[in-house]
């Protein structure tokens, strides 16, 4: 029983770091966080594969692959069918720093997964999120005063370009 739980825990350590990670900015489903749902431990959360891997266009960011190695279970070895035990997985080295995952097992099934020992000792969403959340501007913004280099918008046409914001930004550096 204990070896099965440890095997599951080490798999989860690696997979949690690869996939959905709850953030304060946007709740996404954490892998294997559903009580009594060990069936999902070895699979993804089925996000329709919408991972922007790019096709030769991107910078090829790879998902963080934590090599979890072997877990060290810290609970007792009795593993009763109805008891709750907490196991601390091995610390995994991610590209954001070391992360440790703690698994809670209830009734023989994983009931909770918590990451402890966050990079830099605190939960830094900016580190784990690849791209920053866009910041809304409280007031209308003069493009030049904010060091904006380029504007993204619904397709600019050549007709609409003249005297557009982007035109001004380009003119400054021609």
């Amino acid at each position: 029983m204990r070896r099965i739980v440890i095997a599951i825990a080490s798999t989860i350590t690696g997979l949690v770091l690869l996939f959905s990670w709850p953030t304060s900015l946007n709740r996404t489903t954490a892998l294997a966080a559903t009580p009594g749902g060990t069936g999902g431990a070895g699979t993804t959360t089925g996000t329709s594969g919408a991972h922007a891997n790019g096709n030769g266009n991107g910078s090829g960011k790879s998902t963080s692959s934590g090599s979890s190695g072997t877990s060290s279970g810290s609970g007792s070895g009795s593993g009763t069918a109805t008891g709750t035990k907490t196991y601390t997985g091995a610390t995994a080295q991610t590209r954001y720093g070391p992360v440790t995952v703690q698994i809670t097992v209830t009734g023989g099934k994983v009931s909770d997964v918590q990451a402890t020992n966050y990079p830099n000792g605190s939960r830094t969403d900016q580190v784990i999120n690849s791209y920053a959340i866009p910041q809304l501007n409280a007031e209308a913004l003069q493009a030049g005063s904010a060091n904006i280099a380029m504007v993204s918008g619904a397709t600019f046409t050549s007709y609409g370009y003249l005297q557009s914001l982007q035109d001004a930004l380009d003119q400054a550096h021609l």
Partner: protein
Amino acid sequence: MAGDGAKAAAVSPSPGLPHRAWVEQIMGMPISVHVRGERALDDVVAAAVADLFDELREVEARFSPFREDSELCRLQRGEVELEHASDDMREVERLCRTALERTDGWFDAWHSRPDGLFDPTGLTKTWGVGRAARHLDSLPGLGYAIGAGGDVLLRPTSDGEPWLIGIEDPRDRSRVLATVPVSDGAVATSGTAARGAHIRDPRTGAAMTEVLAASVVGPSLLWADVFATAAIARGAQAVDWVSTLHGTSGLLVLADGSVHRWANPV
């Protein structure tokens, strides 16, 4: 006007790396190229930018639905079969099939036109920009920002400063609604603002209006573009759907004026 080797390059108004820009009108839209780096003012950079623009003109010649002699029009008329089409056309067709799957059918090159003709132009522009950018990738130490009709591709500058990208307010194109710093990646925006409701629900053909604009920030320009387009097509459901786009951030402007922002982990 297009970059001219004889023209004195503007000095960057802020201290730091030299910064130069070019703009040309291709595919009916402005293509702006900004470079930052020690070599930004060198002729070799200007030559690479000229090659970049030339490659975009080739993309236009091949994929323009407005040119009767383009390979796309010949394909649409049945004058050439896909299996005998160019490598580029077949690659684009494969990308359209992948996009169809990845967006659960909401980006659909086979149902984007009322007449039902295969239409890859929803991604040919950003595909082309990614290809053309290789001319600059071959120059080490040069950061760049390429804006193609509102979709932007970024590469890091040697001083580590991210490019600050403004996101246009779809309700007032003279206003920047939000900004996002990006060192390496892309920002693509789709919307109904510039040309009216041109994005259609592939199931019904009806024009979509619930999401005025969608901006996606991610590692790939092509996929940011595909996801932004699919978000418009999905309408209000897009608010939930974007939470599944791992490794992206962005915002949606809804028809009621509200703004939904996200930043997803990898």
